[in-house]
Amino acid sequence: MTMDYQNMTSMQMDVLKELGNIGAGNAVTALSKMLDKKVNMEVPRVSILEFREVSEILGGAEAEVTGVYFRMEGDISGNIMFLLPVDSSNALLDMLMGTYRDNDKFGEMSLSALEEIGNILTGSYISSLSTMTGMNIKISVPALAIDMAGAVLSVPIIQFGHMGDSVLLIETHFFEGKTHVKGNFLLIPDLESFANLLEKLGVA
């Protein structure tokens, strides 16, 4: 059975928002422990976007971003991406690594640290979704890219492009007080998983 995003009710939207909330809440707790600092998050946004609108969410297609990409498989399949503007990546690395930070802009140590941060945060995001919905969800190993937002996002968009012309985005922002670390989780369930997801959540 396929389902069209356009016909989604506001109740279904709310449930998906809550899903993003719980996942990101758990991830933000993990980040807060890692940094030993308080991290705040905003109420997630659920939106249905045309492909070309997706890269606009991060300050335009040319804005430099860090993206850690995962494929999700199991009871629901789809793409998940942890995204942060490049200055936030720098701030995060400074906080985490301090004087151990390599000198060049993004050396091997920094890249591997960013990949691991993405892995830990996305892992906690998915594990809380899995617990709440009772669904079995696995994520792939992380893959990292630092480049233009449009280019980084082209990967999950192309994957989704096999199925439709618009994507469902559950987007969560979080930030750390003075240092302005801003991050986003993009959860893009595959079209065929979408009905399944709503059913498991009891709002089909």
Partner: protein, 162 residues
């Protein structure tokens, strides 16, 4: 004279008469196909996402696929007065943004898009006169009707004019 700059978004295609600049921002694994009739100075650009419309059920957006987008773009240029025998192509993009240890087909999408574009252009007897494809980085491309130049900007990989 002011030149209108037109942005071509993902899965869009458009042709234009001189003077015009067609731009795609942040091209990743997609391929930007730029067609030019140097005599009439008619240009066209397609931002192609996937190799083929054939194995896809939901294929109503013709600008999304290499096979249908190129055909559509050539037709649009002919409609503006271009001559098919004069149309040449420049292509850019098709990067592999993420490297996975297990290189499955989905991850090789950039390369597959480039292959499909080459095949489709050949089918229409359009010669590729220059290209900047592959790699693992994003590209912003600007295509100028006045001289057919394609300017390629990157983050950390310089500027290339082809």
């Amino acid at each position: 004279m002011t030149v209108g700059i037109t942005k071509i978004g993902i899965a869009e295609a458009r042709a234009a008469r001189d003077p015009a600049v067609l731009v795609t921002l942040g091209l990743g694994s997609c391929v930007g196909v730029c067609l030019y009739d140097r005599f009439k100075r008619i240009i066209g650009m397609a931002h192609i996402m996937l190799p083929s419309s054939i194995e896809i059920k939901n294929n109503s957006n013709r600008a999304k696929f290499a096979d249908t987008a190129i055909e559509m773009l050539i037709k649009e240029m002919l409609g503006l007065g271009a001559n098919k025998g004069r149309i040449t192509a420049k292509i850019a993009g098709g990067a592999q943004m993420f490297s996975f240890k297990s290189a499955n087909d989905l991850m090789r999408i950039g390369e597959r898009n480039v292959e499909a574009v080459r095949r489709e252009l050949k089918k229409h007897s359009v010669e590729i006169v220059a290209e900047d494809v592959g790699g693992s980085y994003g590209r912003t491309i600007e295509f100028y009707s006045k001289n057919g130049e394609l300017h390629i900007k990157t983050i950390g990989h310089g500027i290339n004019v082809i």
